[in-house]
């Protein structure tokens, strides 16, 4: 969280250390809900990307430390969260809804309309 940052050469951003945010994932008839703890991340530092069947969530912690801050004790040392997931086909990635509040990202991925649970009638004989 300090003002000082180790700066590498070109491409250093992609190799910046990241930490995986803690998540909760649950599914109901409408789709999958994912909650991720990303404290310190505001909406303009949050990236959610879907490429093919991979969902990637990434967020940077903005530095809002005062001038001349000297670290005394740090349990959080990595200022970037990143985690990716493989989605299954019946999820409709075009209709993902995302909400970020107080550092908690909640994503709801609905199922494709035709993939809603359906009872299948069994014919006799």
């Amino acid at each position: 969280m300090s003002e000082k940052q180790k700066v590498g050469g070109p491409g250093a951003d992609q190799q910046q250390r990241t930490v995986q945010p803690a998540i909760d994932v649950f599914e109901d008839a409408g789709g999958i809900t994912l909650l991720a703890d990303m404290p310190g991340v505001s909406r303009d530092h949050l990236d959610i990307k879907v490429e093919g069947d991979t969902l990637l969530i990434e967020g940077g912690v903005q530095r809002f430390t005062p001038e001349g801050l000297e670290a005394v004790y740090a349990e959080v040392q990595v200022p970037r969260y990143r985690r990716s997931f493989t989605l299954s086909r019946e999820l409709d990635t075009a209709r993902i809804e995302a909400n970020l509040k107080d550092g908690v990202l909640s994503l709801h991925i609905p199922k494709q309309a035709h993939a809603q649970p359906r009872r299948i009638a069994v014919s006799a004989g």
């Binding site: 909760d24 005062p66 801050l69 005394v72 107080d102």
Partner: protein, 150 residues
């Protein structure tokens, strides 16, 4: 924060440090005394403490809380942060299937012992993007005095 005395967790030395700590846990031998209020690795919420010449800054990474319900008290030099997070997973619903439950819920308390030069009447706290930031002013230390040599 990267220049802190705690080693970078993924560096070679960080890995040895982690191994040493794990062995300490197994054998119970630890050379250095730790704060009497120190907690186990991975205690939630994580805390960072920094210092400027005029203040002590404490950051608690506690997402998903109701700011009005966070309890911050300063008593005899000990800053205590307490709160409660309610689970967002619908409970006991047979139609809901839970795959992953990594986020913590329930009540928490963290206590931090502050240095003696703080001014307890000048404390500010704000909660933004899931980070609770408490700023405690330090009393002005006397400026070094120049002494003339006769």
């Amino acid at each position: 924060m990267y220049e802190s005395i705690l080693h970078h967790p993924n560096s070679l030395f960080g890995q040895f440090e982690r191994l040493r700590r794990e062995l300490d846990d197994v054998f119970g031998i630890s050379g250095l005394p730790s704060s009497i209020r120190s907690v186990a690795q991975g205690t939630v919420p994580a805390i960072n403490v920094g210092r400027t010449p005029g203040s002590i800054e404490v950051y608690a990474f506690a997402p998903g809380l109701d700011a009005s319900k966070i309890d911050v008290t300063l008593d005899r030099g000990v800053l205590r942060i307490a709160g409660d997070r309610v689970s967002a997973i619908p409970a006991d619903d047979p139609k809901v299937q839970v795959y992953t439950r990594e986020r913590g819920y329930g009540s928490f308390t963290r206590a931090i012992s502050l240095s003696e030069d703080i001014d307890p009447s000048q404390v500010q706290a704000n909660y933004r993007d899931g980070v609770l930031h408490v700023s405690i002013a330090r009393r002005e230390s006397p400026q070094p005095k120049r002494i003339n040599v006769q």
